[in-house]
């Protein structure tokens, strides 16, 4: 039976312990852990909200459904309206525009009132005039054209053009649209008409190729409800546009930022957990006598157990609640701080970070201190008479097991990825063993120099060796802490560097496509005389992958790859005599001059997905012709590089040269923008795709991330200093009595002080070097198996041992006055 009286007594006990200052470090450790979890939670949610905002800005709406060739069912739209969602629509079809002099194929986009309210479309009233954001779609009976269409059609503002059965008046020059969904990068020049005019053109007939986009706006929860309702009903030609439909550069930047957020929060949780483990053991030691008195007076073993569980529960709930407030406050400060950088400035109306925070607080405290509670329950009451009687010693295995299970549960909970966490654990466990082995060998090898040493250094060495397991625990804790700090720091640096490399200042911001073979020399000359920083020119032709080793492609590939996008559409095929810029060979050789056979180079990830091997034969249908080539090599492609990239590159001279076009990309600084006009005037058939807006968006996102990540690092540092503090406190408290006895026996204070310094210097050097080695190993494992980033060496890790020693010395300096105070 449980003694319920103790539930009344526990809050009093907690208050008395707090008042006596015995709980400060433990509470501090919990507060730091939970604060960082809560703040990071809010902060991730905020970042996610901003990313989503950015993504939906690029896509055009928080929820978009694309339907090919058929409009969505009217009852679905009715349902959306009933759920208070605003709908805007656009439809795109290819059609010929004609004037009296010329005709040209163009992509016509029909838009409605709602569309222009939500999407930033800029229209100039005439050439050489400033484009402004339009508030309404083209008036019925009018059309807006992209600039080069004016040249192609030899038309001017006010002229008439024919579109199907309808005559429309040209009313403006289309300059920019904020929606950047990938499939809207079309080769044909663009034209905009009012949606009401579509029917009168009589172009759209059953079987016409039309892309219908439905953009839904409204309350987030209503959108989500609608999405859940709609999704199962969509057919195979209808799908939801997601962030996968935004440019890859953005997508990969977002993903990397998410990965880092997760990593940083996990690191701070583990660190805080270690701090709690150390602090709770220190706390428990102080409780032995007290518990013996309790047991002597009235407490049964079970009462002690229940008491301390209740005690720790109360402690974690109180500390976590304080931490939740703090975490929220920090997130708020962060919001104010970065107000100008944020897309949406709003507090997260979510309880999730709070719940996760308090939950983690409880889990971490119990996970790391359960063995300590069990130990307290084993304090014998007889200790009141015999102070040498100890409770059962905590089994090291139990302690580790409890900590490991806790961290495992937390990591699993945060990452929602069982296998990943499991692998991390196997890796981590191996690492820990390695760390243990290395520190044991290191410390034991100190024996060799004990006899050669003298003075305080000698005493310090002796103490380390006499308390080997204690010293080992210290080295393990310290190297773990600095390893994690190093990890957070250097992964951050790599993240920054990667982003900077991804978007150097001369990142291409324009693509030229549809360059005809007869124009290629002229365009090259234009680029050269204009001193534009351009990439190579690549030939391009569209073809469909139809066979693998003579077997229909859908039957020849693994089942899970059957829905791959590449099989559903025509691919851009190219050929080259050398490896393209920003590509690297992963497997196989380049063909160089070997044109004995038709060769193809395949993008590595695609090859893996489709199960393509070197030496396989791939067949493509290009127009009416079928081309077969042997796989010669696999390439790694940087899809986020803004350079022309291809899944398939063929060896030269396979394709009929007449039906190809050419592509390249270049960087045009703002002051040279006038060249675009010249270019489209001189070569009106060439499509100029501006990705300036995307590059700008990506830059902005990256800039925000950098700030965010820096802020995150503060938590990691706070958590690590808590561990350092807890370790030092536990370690210095333990030797307080010892030091006093030494002092009584005539040891000079300065001598004792020197010994203390030496001891921590030796431990610091050991931990620092270990931390350095292990950090590099962990970074290698993390990049290779988990994050899939490119690994490189980090010479700056040499700073880690110095940092370790310095912070340790500062900590000792701060605390040793207490230890060495007069007996």
């Amino acid at each position: 039976m449980i003694n319920f009286n103790l539930f009344l007594f526990i809050p009093k006990l907690l208050w008395r312990d707090w008042r006596a200052g015995e709980l400060h470090i433990l509470v501090f450790a919990i507060v730091v852990a939970v604060t960082s979890i809560v703040a990071i939670g809010f902060f991730s949610a905020q970042l996610e909200l901003n990313m989503q905002g950015q993504v939906s800005r690029l896509l055009g709406a928080p929820f978009i459904v694309r339907s090919m060739n058929h409009p969505l069912e009217a009852r679905w739209l009715l349902q959306a309206e009933q759920q208070q969602l605003t709908i805007s629509q656009s439809l795109v079809f290819a059609s010929v525009l004609s004037t009296e002099q010329q005709l040209h194929l163009s992509d016509v986009k029909a838009i409605d009132d709602n569309y222009v309210k939500q999407i930033d479309i800029r229209i100039a009233p005439d050439f050489d005039q400033v484009a402004i954001k339009t508030q309404s779609p083209p008036k019925s009976g009018t059309i807006w054209l992209e600039e080069r269409l004016f040249y192609l059609l030899q038309a001017n503002i006010g002229d008439k053009v024919e579109l199907g059965y309808r005559e429309l008046e040209i009313a403006g020059v289309f300059v920019y649209e904020s929606r950047q969904s990938r499939s809207w990068w079309m080769i044909s020049p663009k034209a905009f008409i009012n949606r009401k005019d579509v029917a009168s053109t009589k172009i759209i007939q059953p079987g016409s190729r039309v892309t219908y986009d439905y953009l839904f706006y409204g309350d987030k929860s209503n959108i989500e409800l609608f999405r859940q309702w709609l999704q199962p009903q969509l057919s195979s030609s209808q799908w939801i546009l997601t962030e996968k439909n935004i440019p890859r550069a953005l997508n990969s930047a977002l993903q990397k930022a998410r990965d880092y957020l997760l990593l940083a929060s996990l690191i701070s949780v583990i660190l805080a957990g270690v701090a709690i483990a150390i602090a709770s053991q220190h706390f428990s030691r102080l409780r032995w006598d007290q518990t013996a008195v309790f047991r002597c007076f009235a407490y049964r073993k079970r009462d002690v157990l229940v008491s301390y569980i209740a005690y720790f529960l109360l402690l974690s709930v109180i500390s976590s609640s304080i931490a939740c407030g703090l975490g929220w406050l920090l997130h708020w400060v962060w919001l104010i701080w970065f107000k100008d950088f944020l897309l949406t400035f709003a507090l997260i109306p979510s309880w999730k970070p709070i719940v996760v925070g308090i939950g983690s607080g409880i889990v971490v405290l119990f996970g790391f201190s359960l063995p300590v509670i069990l130990q307290l329950a084993s304090v014998p009451p007889l200790r009141v008479l015999r102070s040498h009687l100890m409770p059962l010693s905590i089994s090291a295995i139990g302690l580790w097991l409890s900590a490991i299970v806790t961290v495992f549960i937390l990591l699993w909970w945060y990452s929602q990825h069982f296998l990943l966490v499991f692998l991390l654990f196997v890796l981590g466990f191996g690492l820990l063993l390695l760390l243990l082995a290395m520190s044991s060998i290191g410390l034991i090898s100190l024996k060799a120099i004990v006899n050669l040493s003298s003075g305080s250094f000698h005493w310090a060495l002796l103490r380390i060796l006499r308390q080997l397991s204690w010293s080992l625990a210290q080295v393990l804790a310290l190297s773990l802490v600095f390893m994690l700090v190093g990890l957070a720091w250097f992964v951050k640096l790599d993240l920054f560097q990667g982003w900077q490399q991804q978007l150097p200042s001369n990142t291409p911001n324009y693509f030229l496509i549809n360059i005809q073979p007869f124009q290629i020399e002229q365009v090259k000359q234009f680029v050269a005389t204009s001193q534009i920083n351009a990439t190579d020119f690549y030939p391009m032709i569209r073809g469909r992958l139809i066979e693998l080793n003579g077997q229909a492609i859908k039957d020849a590939i693994p089942a899970k790859a059957k829905n791959h996008n590449v099989l559903r559409r025509e691919l851009n095929l190219s050929w080259a005599s050398k490896v393209p810029e920003h590509n690297s060979l992963v497997q196989g050789k380049w063909w160089s001059d070997d044109i004995s056979e038709h060769w193809v180079s395949v993008e590595y990830k695609l090859a893996k997905t489709l199960g393509i091997e070197l030496g396989d034969r791939l067949s493509f249908r290009v127009g009416s012709e079928v081309i077969t080539a042997t796989v010669k090599n696999f390439r790694q492609v940087k899809w986020d590089s803004f350079y022309p990239n291809f899944y398939m590159i063929l060896s030269p001279r396979i394709l009929d040269q007449s039906s190809i076009t050419w592509i390249n990309s270049f960087y045009l600084p703002p002051k040279k923008q006038l060249l675009l006009k010249q270019l489209s005037k001189q070569f009106p058939n060439i499509t100029i795709i501006s990705i300036d807006a995307i590059v700008h968006e990506v830059r902005q996102i990256l800039q925000r991330m950098l700030l965010a990540v820096d802020y995150l690092l503060l938590f990691v540092l706070a958590a690590s200093f808590t561990v350092l503090f807890a370790t030092l406190q536990a370690s210095l408290a333990q030797r307080r009595t010892e030091m006093k006895i030494f002092h009584l026996l005539g040891c000079q204070q300065s001598q004792l002080q020197r010994q203390l310094w030496w001891e921590f210097l030796i431990l610091g050097i050991f931990s620092g070097i270990l931390a350095m080695l292990v950090t590099e190993a962990v970074i290698y494992g993390l990049y290779t198996w988990v994050l899939h980033w490119a690994f490189h060496w980090h010479p700056w890790l040499l700073v880690l041992p110095v940092l370790t020693v310095m912070s340790l010395m500062l900590g000792v300096r701060g605390m040793n006055r207490k230890v060495l105070s007069a007996p």
């Binding site: 003694n3 319920f4 009286n5 103790l6 009344l8 007594f9 009093k12 008395r16 312990d17 008042r19 006596a20 015995e22 006598d289 007290q290 013996a292 008195v293 309790f294 047991r295 002597c296 007076f297 009235a298 407490y299 049964r300 073993k301 079970r302 009462d303 014998p380 009451p381 007889l382 009141v384 008479l385 015999r386 102070s387």
Partner: protein, 222 residues
Amino acid sequence: MIEAKHIKKQVKTEEQTLTILEDVSLFVQAQQTVAILGASGCGKSTFLAILAGLDNPTKGEVYLDQVLLNELSQDQKALLRAKLLGFIFQDFQLIASFTALENVMLPLELVGNKAAKEQASYWLEQVGLSHRLKHYPKQLSGGEQQRVAIARSFINQPKILLADEPTGNLDQATGHKMIELLFELNQTQATTLVLVTHDQALAQQCQQRYRLEHGTLQIQDD
């Protein structure tokens, strides 16, 4: 009130088995005061621990208020202690983070007695520390700390009071005062007192004195 029959206590160490108590029997009547004398290490405290149910004898039986301790579980013994026993220790065993008042309240708080505070104030007044209620043990002198411990030992109005070298850590004058206080309170509360000491003067105050030597207990004649 207390009856110990043929108590034997052996302790096994790695090398040998030590016999601390050979064959010890004791009978203490209600309200009697008994002193157990003996040199350091003769097993006085072990015997006291066995009487309190804190330690188990290797052989023999202990009855407290007619309850046979040997048949009780550790938990039952704890409950019996809460009801029946008060303790005074050589090193006081005060809880450092508790004030004097809170230390005295403790035995009642542990069993959920709501009058703990009033009772504790009353007992601290009885031991002359009403002006020290809010002081922590480290702010009190040794004598004052032991007085807090005495107040604590009486708060649950125990039938039996066990004291282990109550003056062991005090100077002679303070020790003397402590003895006076202890016996005075003992008399007014009609408590059975067993104290273990090597202090002859303290033992002299008791109605019955025993000497523990070579693992056996003998009545000491003066």
